[in-house]
Symmetry: C2
Subunit: 192 residues, 2 copies
DNA sequence: TAAGGCATGTAAGACGTTACATGATTAC
DNA sequence: GTAATCATGTAACGTCTTACATGCCTTA
């Protein structure tokens, strides 16, 4: 992938996200960071150990976080906290303009699928669409719930993020329903 | 990344996309395939030679495409076409249900940024938002143009794909404008 | 015939994924 | 005291990215 992701910065999106979590949560162990991603709804990153542990060490090497050994029980932990330098890097990353050129078009796997949906026989295509629509509607409900659970009062920006998920998902539902309608209209009614 | 991407299939999304292009366009050279991605608006894949050339060879090894040498001028080309087996694989990939579990939530880098936007001083946060909004609005115009340029009559599914880009981008614009409004309201007016 | 881009690749590197390994803690 | 799970890692692997290399082919 090479570090270029977005803008001029030198940090991966995952690195920045980890940095951000450490910044928000205060001192935390790599494990706690992992939980953050494991529990997160967005499936972008798996939060796998193989990703996180090397990553925080990388961040420490670069001086963006600092770890202090701490003992809970008889077990050795490392609590990571963000350094001043790390804060600067985080700000630089957040500030970095999105999408160098023009097209800030995000990736939607359903869109890719749609391009080749004509490879399927009509019946299967319709059934794919209706399955996907079901999944999307479930996602929409989740997004609504998440949005309610993060009120504006608490962390405004977390609410905004949840709202993004909501609006985007709603748009995708609308889109796919529209597609379904057109296909049904054009291929003849079918109830299943 | 390991091949798991989406569903139960065994093919990467990029592999499937390449397969799909070969299927749609008929016999084509790796170079032509690259152009497809280079010209594409979606920045998901760079269409780099280092990705495509090894990939088509991989597909051929797996029997999904077959290449026949062809000569134009004095230069050797290879025209790739999809095999029956390849067609089956493409269909299997298209048909594969999206998102195993529940959350079919797509990734939006702006959403990630939003989570940590509070790291910036208010003025910078606002200016980030307004820059991003500008970029998004440009993307929206592009999406509208793309949508007009791919009429329903020609390739229905290409039109649907363009329409997806349009609706999703529109939702993102709406979202970010909403965020901007709230921030301005809550932080006091500011014209710049 | 020299310049520039077309078309085909290869090389090195980064990142994240699954899968495995291992010791500490807790539950029963 | 044994089993499950917590918490910390490491190993191997695959994929894509940038950067480079190299001949063809057109055009001026």
């Amino acid at each position: 992938m090479a570090r270029q992701e977005s803008g001029t910065t030198d940090t991966t999106e995952l690195e920045a996200a980890v940095l951000g979590v450490v910044w928000q949560e205060g001192p935390c162990t790599p494990y706690a960071i992992r939980q953050h991603f494991l529990e997160s709804r967005a499936p972008r990153w798996s939060g796998s150990a193989g990703a996180i542990y090397p990553l925080v060490r990388r961040l420490e090497t670069r001086g963006l976080v600092r770890s202090t050994p701490s003992v809970r029980g008889r077990r050795a932990h490392r609590d990571f906290r963000i350094t001043r330098h790390g804060g600067t890097a985080l700000k630089r990353w957040v500030r970095a303009p999105i999408s160098l050129g023009d097209g800030a078009l995000i990736h939607d796997p359903l869109r890719t699928r749609m391009l080749f949906l004509s490879a399927l026989p009509r019946e299967e295509a319709l059934s794919f669409v209706s399955d996907a629509l079901g999944a999307l509607r479930r996602a929409l409900q989740q997004a609504q719930k998440d949005c309610r659970e993060k009120p504006v009062g608490e962390d405004q920006f977390a609410h905004f993020a949840a709202r993004n998920a909501l609006l985007v998902t709603r748009a995708r539902v609308k889109w796919l329903a529209e597609v379904q309608g057109r296909l049904k209209a054009c291929w003849g009614e079918r109830l299943s």
